[in-house]
Symmetry: C2
Subunit: 319 residues, 2 copies
């Protein structure tokens, strides 16, 4: 039996896990990233954690087949580098070469959102489905595209930036400098801002009571909570947010027609309360209605997604 090491190299934490060939996480360990110390120290920690999780699982390190690293930023998959990630301070950072100073294994480097999409494809909501798109509603909107069970990210590995699809010409300013990007309307951050604005403008709204009149306590679930309790303002915020979300989702359907679109992030915890109205509106607005349409599902691999996807990179090689 072969095993696989997956690494989530995040801004705050490094998580290393050992995964079986079905994409099942057997054990994981984490340490703080401490990003300012530079990549070679970070890589040393990754190697230590990899040795630790295999030892703890009683797995001979010789039975590890592939090593995969998921990291924010644009990877160069041929070179095994991260071309750029501002927050981690990575510029053409040679992840593979540095890891191979310590371990004699094939190393794959991939964008973290793409890893999460692969995890859903291998062991999550898109298991046994060839075409899927996974969308993470978080600070921004991250996307991963799976075509024929493999990650698709374009000729320069920088594609699948679904959050930076403009849905509102000359609309809200996005962090990327363009106006009207989907993530400026439909990320969790955007929803929090929409909720705060509505609460501020409507002091009578239940939203204010839920957060004890402290708008900073509003999170992406607050408006849904208020709506559930019958609050008009909450309902309006939710309705408008679903419209924004559907705008991008229908675009993705019209463009990709994946068999399933998977949502992850805190909002996905709403389950059917989000998925049902979303699906109804999306299927009403999609261009081609005479065919079986994509379903929308909640992600299943949770916080293990990036590690599992990274571990599976070698098995589902993308080029």
């Amino acid at each position: 039996m072969k095993y696989y090491i997956g690494v989530e190299l995040g801004v705050r934490n490094i998580i290393v896990g050992v995964v079986d060939k079905y994409g099942k996480m057997l054990r994981k360990e984490a340490v703080p990233t401490l990003k300012d110390r530079g990549y070679s120290e970070i890589i040393k920690d990754i190697v230590q954690l990899a040795l630790k999780v295999t030892e703890e699982e009683d797995i001979d390190f010789k039975s590890i087949k592939y090593f995969g690293v998921g990291c924010p930023g644009i990877p160069n998959k041929h070179e095994g580098t991260i071309v750029r990630n501002y927050i981690l301070g990575f510029v053409n950072t040679p992840i593979r070469a540095e890891l191979q100073k310590h371990i004699n294994l094939p190393v794959y480097v991939e964008n973290d959102a793409n890893c999460a999409a692969l995890a859903e494809s291998v062991a999550g909501a898109a298991e046994d489905i060839d075409f899927s798109v996974t969308i993470k509603l978080g600070v921004g909107i991250g996307g991963g595209i799976i075509i024929n069970n493999k990650i698709y990210s374009g000729f320069n590995f920088a594609g699948a930036e679904l959050g930076h699809m403009v849905i509102a010409h000359e609309g809200e300013l996005c962090t990327c400098g363009r106006r009207g990007c989907w993530e400026a309307y439909a990320s969790a951050t955007a929803l929090v801002n929409q909720t705060k604005k509505a609460a501020y403008e409507n002091p009578e709204s239940l939203i204010n009571i839920i957060v004890n009149n402290d708008l900073d306590k509003i999170n992406e679930l607050t408006a849904f909570e208020a709506a559930k309790q019958g609050d008009k303002v909450g309902k309006l915020v939710v309705q408008k947010y679903i419209e924004y979300l559907v705008e991008g989702i229908v675009n993705i359907m019209n463009i990709f027609m994946p068999e399933v679109i998977i949502l992850s992030g805190e909002l996905s915890k709403l389950g059917d309360n989000l998925i049902k109205p979303l699906t109804e509106l999306a299927h009403k607005k999609v261009y081609s209605k005479e065919v079986r349409l994509p379903s929308i599902k909640v992600a299943e691999t949770g916080s293990a997604a990036i590690v599992i996807g990274a571990a599976m990179l070698g098995r589902y090689m993308d080029r």
Copy 2:
């Protein structure tokens, strides 16, 4: 040497061509579609034309390897049918089965815009390029996506509807019923309407002189013509149109990062006068700038695109 038959089954004309393995059109013949007569008569004409072009080229029909049909609408590629095309009156129309009553060959059925994209990939502006997206700026915006040299159209074959990507939330009403679709802003039809409106509102504009004050003579090149001659109104129309076009093109870059984006249709005849400002603005607005970026090119297979692409379907099987 093997040869390939490609068919453009259009609303007005049927064009049948014989194509070599490099995607070179050797000969083609056309007849009017006369769509009201029903598909079985249409298929008979297709067979007749196929026999005619091979005979005229002195090609033994036995050396024909594959037969391909490009048609507007959604195909079912497994069944070889057209699921739906309202204009041709096709509903689950069994193109393959009907053709195989007359000829004993593998028959492929595909959407016409997808065929055009394949033609560019095999023998046009994306030759030797694995990832390309071809966009036809016409009455609407048609799209075709080539991934690893094959047509991508999703699990239900209804994807790649790039014109029906919303770029303007709550914007112009589109023929599909949604508001703000890219084709409502950036198709040739949209540009004609934008030009007419500007000419009507600005009687002093050169646009009116170019068309002898007959707004119905305005076409998609008129504003560019006026702009070239220094007309302020023409320049504004062109500038705004390029902004709309770039909005969708940058979305496509952020999502797909194809190595090349190919434009076809009358507007592509503008060549560098269109491609240069488009590329400059798109590369300024794209999300990831630290990597080699997609180029934008003019289509090369012209009016033969659909026939060539249809003929090549078997060689570049998409599933």
